[in-house]
Amino acid sequence: MMTVLWTDIAVFFLVFFGLVVAWRSSKKEHLRRPWEKVFNSKTGVASLTILLIFILIGTLDSARIQHYKTLDTQELSTQAKTLSLLDIILTPIRTRVEKTYSEPFAHMAYAKEMGVDEAGQQKWRYPRLSFAGAHLSEPNSEKSGDILLKVLLGFSFGMLAWLALVLILSLLAGKFILSKGSSGIRVCLLTLLGVFFIVGCIAMLGPYYHILGTDKVGEDVLYQAIKSIRTGLVIGSLTTIVMLPIAIGLGLMAGFFRGWVDDVIQYVYTTLSSIPAVLLIAAAILMAQVYMANNPELFTTVEDRADMRLFLLCMILGITSWTGLCRLLRAETLKIREMDYVVAAQALGVKKAQLLKRHVLPNVMHLVMITVVLDFSGLVLAEAVLSYINIGVDPSTYSWGNMINTSRLEMAREPIVWWSLTAAFIFMFTLVLAANLFADVVRDAFDPHSNS
């Protein structure tokens, strides 16, 4: 049975919306030109490829099915549970839960335990992990060779899969695309080669080791980091979708109608933007918490609650962040409405709504496009900070912010538990760097001033 959460609907809507925008852009000359510029830029294509991989993972993580666990001895307590397609793909990593912390690629536990040694005596010692490295009989001597072998295998499988992809695409295109294809396709394929290598290594190593270690309850950190991708993407994209209609609608109206409409809208955004954003978010999240605490019957499962909080967080972030774009659009509309073609259209008796839709809106779309891409990375970073102050996503949601937040205490342990923190930072860095590089290319392509 499918179960659908609020943010899942939003994710699918966003993917659909993105496809529609892409399809419509390809039909229109004035929109196709800047995109062609993006696709001709090496940085643009490479970062877009990485972003699409992230989006693919996020979408897979949003398709959920109800999963009935076969009740074995260990998991009597867990009953039906929703699993996403991503969970199912990651089953080997997801289900191999250790007792507690373990270092990346470790075969011994982090904490000493009482056990019986070869001589049959009770002793404090580091026990072997129940899953990681369990296939090795002499881990100390065999492990590095085994890891190397698996990495090489992963590389070769990745290479093979990539070659197959190149071959299929070449057959479809009727030419060898690595040498004859456009530079965009080549860069895309080279980026994919890197991704395939990494995926190959994870596929080979994941079932035998904890590549990024395990956390306090023994869950694989790599799994957590991958699961967090969806949260980051939802916050970065859903927020902009919430904010866009408000910002576009009010910005165009303020600039176009002027007079009292302008005054009211300006008043509203000055008031909203004068409240420090963090405090407004904190206030709204506190209120939402109170509401959820008082209406427990509306949120039956932990998952429901966490999802609702994520959804609300996006709403709140959207409501607090529309003012910047609105101000920009108002100023631009003020300029555009005095342009000859708008005046001419007005003189010809074009209705106001038509005028806005046909003549003003298309000419401010580049600003919207640039803002959406630029805001994305900022929001992903903001999630981590908000979760740190406990006004971000629910503590039970997988997110990089939560990983960082919990690892603050782990930093004080001896020996220090650095892997959760590092994993969260690396994943976040990859996504945000890709988004930032892409944003730069998009801005250069869409900004009319940069054409010179």
Partner: protein, 325 residues
Amino acid sequence: MINYIIRRLLYVFPVLIGVNILTFVLFFVVNTPDDMARMQLGDKHVSQAAVENWKQQRGYDLPLLWNEQAQGVEQATNTIFFKKSVGLFVFDLGLSDNGRDIAADISQRMWPSLAIAIPSLIFGVLANITFALLLIFYRGNYLEFGGLFLCIVSMSISGLFYIIAGQYLIGKLLVLTPISGYAPGADAFKFIILPVLIGVVGGLGSGVRWYRSLFLEEAAKDYVRTAKAKGLSDLQVLFKHVLKNALIPILTGIVVILPLLFMGSLISESFFGIPGLGSYTIDAISSQDFAIVRSMVFLGSFLYIIGLLLTDISYTLVDPRVSLD
């Protein structure tokens, strides 16, 4: 000029009233004081008497907007709205939910915040301008390309990373400064170094890019070409013309955030254990002290509006082309 300032000051009031009404609605109407009391007192199994007691101690037992039982003017004044929200206008911040005087707390905690915020701002701006000028000077060079790439990389790193890495590297491994804490007076110096350093380094990426774009805009203007045509060296053009003229947007950009320096930085203060207003706010949020959050919202908006006003005034002072009348 005076007229303009008076007009702008009058405009401050509607905005503050708006902020006030918004926070009032958020804190008292969407969720009633009863909800807050239950949340504070623990779980759903709190007796009504305990809730009433909690409300009465904090003055939340009055009607929201209109007191039917009171006489005369008291009907409007003896209400939550009047007592809790209108009082903010005269900076009567009242007591926090655990009974401390908010105004006294703020005036005491303001100084550590400023001790971090002011040096961070000054050194940050200086570092940003220096690096931005370097990038402009080496324009078209591989140094510029590398510098810009570094900027994007540093922008993509979470601010939390700078703090945690800095604390670990400088505080724990090299033991150059204390990891966190604060001491009043001159002793504060050693506690301030690390947060300021991290604040400056963390802001470099976006800061340098922003200042570079300001300088580039200025460098594309005709007078720069003229200056070059006259035979001035690149360095002279950069410092005497580009930097000087770009200072106008730089200064006004700084003026707008000056008042907000009082608010301190939420994240770095709580990481470094500095008893400023930022950590005050965070503590209030995590202990769900609504009275403090409300006061900070009001204070923050007030300072922001003052910042906007100061910006407009500073435009007329530094740029003779702008007049406000």
